[in-house]
């Protein structure tokens, strides 16, 4: 009789464990993602990759591919996304393609996307953008000063700024379409 009791309890524990794993599988994922993102942003006194969230984005003045001078405050008034990239870093080059697809599939005008190329020759960047027919606006940081200002250590790295130019989110690494949509929803609302 006692033995049966054990098996009964064993079964109950197993069932609870199974149910717990099942629940974790469904609900847990969202938690895990949140945690990972927090860690990525918060370690080393909140400054791993760049600027603190909630801080004002440093000012810059850069040339675009047509030779026009563009300044950060040109974009204020709308939320906008700032991404750093190079053509030789395949992950960040692919990020341009992902942004490009995002732009072609989504409503324009709610927010802006600006990409800053880090220390490459204009001819190379222009070549890349023209050959691919990408629509993402590109600014040239030929000296790398802006990259230094934004503490760019890995590529690609993407800053999400609100309409007042305050950093709302930072993401180091490639963003997929889905992640992009999710983050854009967050900065718009």
């Amino acid at each position: 009789m006692k033995f049966r009791n054990y098996t009964k309890w064993g079964l109950i524990i197993l069932l609870i464990a199974g149910f717990g794993i099942f629940l974790l599988n469904i609900i847990g994922k969202s938690f895990i993602q949140e945690i990972v993102q927090e860690v990525a942003i918060e370690t080393a006194e909140g400054k791993v990759f760049g600027i603190n969230i909630g801080q004002e984005a440093p000012h810059w003045e850069l040339l675009d591919l047509d030779g026009n001078t563009i300044i950060l405050s040109d974009f204020l008034g709308k939320p906008f996304i700032l991404t750093f990239w190079t053509t030789w870093n395949s992950m960040s080059a692919d990020q341009i393609k992902i942004f490009d697809e995002y732009l072609s599939q989504n409503e324009k005008g709610i927010f802006e996307i600006v990409s800053i190329n880090n220390q490459e020759d204009k001819s190379i960047v222009l070549n890349f953008i023209q050959r691919g027919g990408y629509q993402v606006p590109v600014l040239l940081d030929e000296t790398g000063k802006v990259g230094e200002l934004y503490k760019v250590r890995t590529l690609p790295i993407t800053y999400f700024l609100d309409k007042d130019g305050i950093v709302q989110d930072v993401f180091a690494g490639a963003l997929s379409q889905e992640m992009l949509t999710e983050k854009v929803q967050k900065i718009i609302h």
């Binding site: 199974g18 099942f22 599988n25 692919d94 204009k122 070549n127 890349f128 490639a174 992640m179």
Partner: protein, 501 residues
């Protein structure tokens, strides 16, 4: 008719059959409920109605997440109700649970819903089997056998996703079929004495059978027509791609020849003025919209790469185009190089009064950027293969961040037709376990050797959705007709029943 659609249709008819069986069981239970009027019986009705709902949603393959979630909720709810019912109904002794069925559940946690369903089914099987043994209820034999097969069927469903079709999928559906038949035979034994229900059910079954047949015929015709059309269109598009590559080759050759005539390049090269040469070539790269620009000395060593200034001093004289240029002739070909990788390469000699000074190599890499630009124009997923390895593509891996390159094309039919026979081919295929229609065309170099292939692909999701939408519509219409017709038939059978009695 590709296998994918065939299996999709089999899935549809099988799940509708299951729905019918569950409907009959629910009906019988409902009949019992009218007499007994207790929660125990109604729990069985609810359980089987839930399973019925799940079957219909599962069969129709709705794209919406909400509906599918409702389906899964009904599925698990249904199992829970039946389990409750069957536990409470076994009068002799409450069954004792054993942990035998938990083992497969722990090995595969990917599909929690299916796992829970499997556990539920296995418990139902186990309890009904116990009941059958203890109470010698012979009538329960097909019941527990049915649930045994349903358990096995749902166990296999843990191991495949609805996207991929494999032997496991087929085995799973076969098991389900056996399960449904066993359950049908169980329920039939109760129906034999009741002429009214029997008539009604026969009517419903035939109406459903007709509905399934009609919708399947329609969707099959529709699919095959759509498919031929898409294939034709796709082949045209792929030919356009082929032309685009030819055009790029001509452009590269023309520009190489043009650049080779420029005296300023020759002057700077002669003076070894590399700083000015860098500036000039950078401008040329931009002005002439070239993919890359390389200047070589007369031995074939790289003096500079305008697109990658740090990479120089390597020797390219073993490349086909360079070899030709150093011999004094211009040539365009498609080949692989250490820096630009697989690319269209045109080389032209730099001559100073009949004397060879070096060579100019220019062209376009067949890289992701090129594939992207083609996709911009055609809207098709474009891939370029060097031999049978995908070197560039517009398709991303499921993570949505990285491109799916470096993958070998292993389909023998494709490699045989395109790479060995040099013909184009258009076929239905699966890419990352999704159905696609893809065209493959050979890429040839200057010596007419096949060095790779280019492919354009279109997802078949649209076609599949159209087919499912036709199935849904036909079925809904038939169900409405059935509901309208069922009332007079119900009255007729009741009168018949009274007269027989």
């Amino acid at each position: 008719m590709p296998l994918f659609f065939l299996l999709n249709n089999i899935h549809f008819s099988l799940e509708i059959l299951g729905a019918l069986v569950f409907l009959i069981v629910a009906w019988l239970a409902f009949d019992a409920f009218i007499i007994r009027r207790d929660f125990l019986t109604v729990s069985r009705v609810i359980g089987f109605v839930f399973l019925l709902v799940w079957q219909v949603i599962h069969a129709l393959n709705f794209p919406s997440d909400i509906l599918n979630l409702i389906g899964y909720a009904a599925y698990l709810g249904g199992i829970a109700f039946i389990l409750y019912n069957i536990v409470r109904e076994s009068a002799v002794e409450r069954p004792e649970f054993k942990a035998v069925f938990l083992l497969p559940a722990l090995t595969a946690l990917r599909q929690p819903f299916n796992i829970v369903a499997t556990i539920g089914f296995s418990l139902i099987t186990f309890i009904s089997f116990r009941q059958y043994k203890r109470e010698f209820k012979k009538s329960l034999l097909p019941f527990w056998i049915a649930f045994l097969f349903l358990t096995l069927g749902s166990l296999t469903s843990v191991f495949y996703t609805s996207d991929s079709l494999s032997t496991v999928w087929i085995i799973g559906h076969l098991l389900e079929l056996v399960g449904f038949f066993a359950l049908a035979s169980w329920v039939w034994s109760y129906l034999q004495l009741r002429i009214r229900e029997e008539l009604l059910l026969i009517f419903i079954s035939f109406a459903l059978l007709m509905a399934v047949m009609v919708s399947l015929t329609f969707s099959t015709i529709l699919i095959s027509r759509m498919e031929t059309q898409t294939k034709d269109n796709l082949l045209t598009d792929a030919r356009v791609l082929d032309l685009a590559i030819l055009k790029l080759q001509e452009e590269a050759l023309a520009k190489a020849k043009l650049l080779a005539t420029r005296t300023d390049i020759k002057e700077l090269l002669k003076e070894n003025n590399f700083i000015e040469l860098e500036k000039l070539s950078n401008n040329l790269l931009q002005e002439e919209k070239l993919g890359f620009l390389i200047i070589l000395d007369k031995e074939g060593y790289v003096v500079l790469r305008a697109h990658a200034l740090t990479k120089k001093d390597d020797n390219l004289s073993n490349e086909r185009a360079v070899e030709k240029a150093l011999a004094g002739e211009s040539l365009v070909t498609i080949e692989s190089s250490p820096v630009e990788k697989f690319s269209i390469r045109a080389a032209s000699p730099l001559m100073k009064k009949e004397e060879l000074m070096g060579a100019i190599v220019t062209g376009f890499p067949l890289d992701n950027v090129l594939a992207d630009s083609i996709k911009k124009i055609t809207g098709l997923e474009t891939s370029i293969f060097e031999k049978n390895v995908r070197v560039s593509t517009t398709a991303f891996n499921p993570d949505g961040k990285t491109r799916s390159i470096g993958i070998k094309q292993t389909d023998n039919l494709v490699t045989q037709t395109v790479l060995e026979e040099g013909k184009d081919i258009t076929l239905s295929t699966t890419i990352l376990s999704r159905p696609f229609i893809a065209s493959y065309l050979p890429i040839k170099n200057a010596d007419a050797q096949i060095v790779g292939m280019i492919s354009a692909a279109k997802p078949q999701q649209e076609i599949l959705e159209t087919a499912n939408a036709t199935n849904q519509l036909t079925l809904i219409i038939v169900i409405i007709i059935m509901l309208v017709l069922i009332l007079p038939i119900y009255f007729i059978t009741r009168r018949l029943g009274e007269e027989v009695a």
